[in-house]
């Protein structure tokens, strides 16, 4: 639902970093998105095709690296991964659980090209 705002932010970040190295074109953008970030890849891709048009990022490929949700049981200290739904600790059945991973939401890197020379 808020993917447009998110996609605009990705474009802004990519264009700023491409500008800093005087790139002529951005070909690839690598995103790292945790399972717990409520972002729909298809939606980002849909907006991307529209808003990247006529920028250095036109036709750049978006790569989504999904990071699983990692949890730690407060009671027995077990660390475990979950994919989707909430579940109690698989070892002790406890409900006191801390999130230790899966909230990542950043642009990792971009691949750029520059006419005539390597950047």
């Amino acid at each position: 639902m808020h993917e447009l705002a998110v996609t605009e932010s990705v474009l802004e970040i990519a264009l700023r970093h491409a500008g800093q190295v005087n790139a002529d074109r951005v070909t690839d953008i690598y995103l790292v998105i945790g399972r717990l970030s409520s972002i729909v890849d298809d939606s980002v891709q849909f907006y991307w095709n529209i808003i990247a048009e006529n920028t250095l990022c036109q036709n750049a490929n978006l790569h989504f690296k999904r990071v699983p949700a990692r949890l730690r049981c407060v009671d027995c200290q077990l660390e475990f991964e979950v994919q989707d739904s909430l579940s109690p600790c698989p070892q002790c059945g406890g409900y006191h659980i801390n999130v230790i991973g899966g909230e990542e939401f950043y642009v990792e890197s971009i691949i750029v090209e520059k006419e005539g020379a390597t950047v």
Binding site: M1, H2, V99
Partner: protein, 223 residues
């Protein structure tokens, strides 16, 4: 042309978070305590806010920021009727308030002499959770008719809040709402979360919430 990898490692919502920090600084400079009120549509946000304003009005000077997706002033008019300052932010169809919209809205709201500002976010359990505003307290108004499975379905919202209001407790006899199941979901996501069961309509439970907020604001002002 040789492709080159440029390392970035920048949070996608970093720009929003930076403006949220500016908002926080603005609030702090005016000694204003800001509360981000989130909920699904129809949870009773506006009634809850009105009753909160009533409960605190002798003690504090308050203002309200209304986030709405459409340019209707139904909610803002109710606040104005109390004689309190209110600013409406029309998000133009967007599903949430973000820090930049709030920053713009704050330009029209003089914070001098405002002790507490209540920010009514757009009714939605997904998007507002992702966008920090710079508020001191993130509050969710859940309501019993929404169902007891909402923490399980909207984990990000329930994980990111500082206080939970369970509204429409007066409807419990008429609906299937398993409080134990609901609270178990909340406990997994946000252990020890401060929770107030209330009915904003009948006033049940509101004094406990008001007294707690009063204490939180007092503590904050001592800092």
């Amino acid at each position: 042309m040789t492709p080159t990898r440029v390392p970035v490692v920048e949070k996608i919502l970093d720009a929003n978070d930076q403006v949220a920090q500016q908002n926080r600084a603005l609030f702090d400079n005016h000694r204003t305590f800001a509360i981000n009120v989130m909920a699904s549509p129809g949870a009773g946000k506006t009634t809850f806010i009105l009753k909160t304003l009533e409960g605190l009005s002798p003690r504090y000077r308050m203002a309200v920021i209304e986030g709405d997706t459409a340019p209707v002033t139904i909610d803002a008019d109710k606040i104005s009727a109390l004689g309190l300052p209110v600013v409406q932010i029309n998000t133009g169809g967007d599903c949430h308030l973000d820090a930049v919209m709030l920053h713009a809205g704050l330009q029209s709201l003089p914070l001098d002499g405002v002790d507490i500002v209540l920010i009514e976010n757009v009714g939605n359990l997904i998007c507002p959770a992702a966008f920090k505003l710079g508020s001191h307290l993130n509050l969710l108004v859940a309501s019993t008719p929404e169902g007891d499975d909402k923490p399980y379905k909207y984990p990000n919202m329930y994980r990111g809040i500082d206080v939970l209001i369970i509204n429409k407790m007066d409807l419990i006899p008429y609906i299937d709402f398993n409080m134990a199941y609901f609270q178990q979901g909340v406990e997994i996501l946000n252990p020890g979360l401060r929770t107030f069961p209330v009915s904003a309509k009948t006033g049940e439970g509101m004094s406990e919430w008001i007294n707690w907020l009063d204490e939180v604001v007092q503590q904050h002002r001592k800092k």
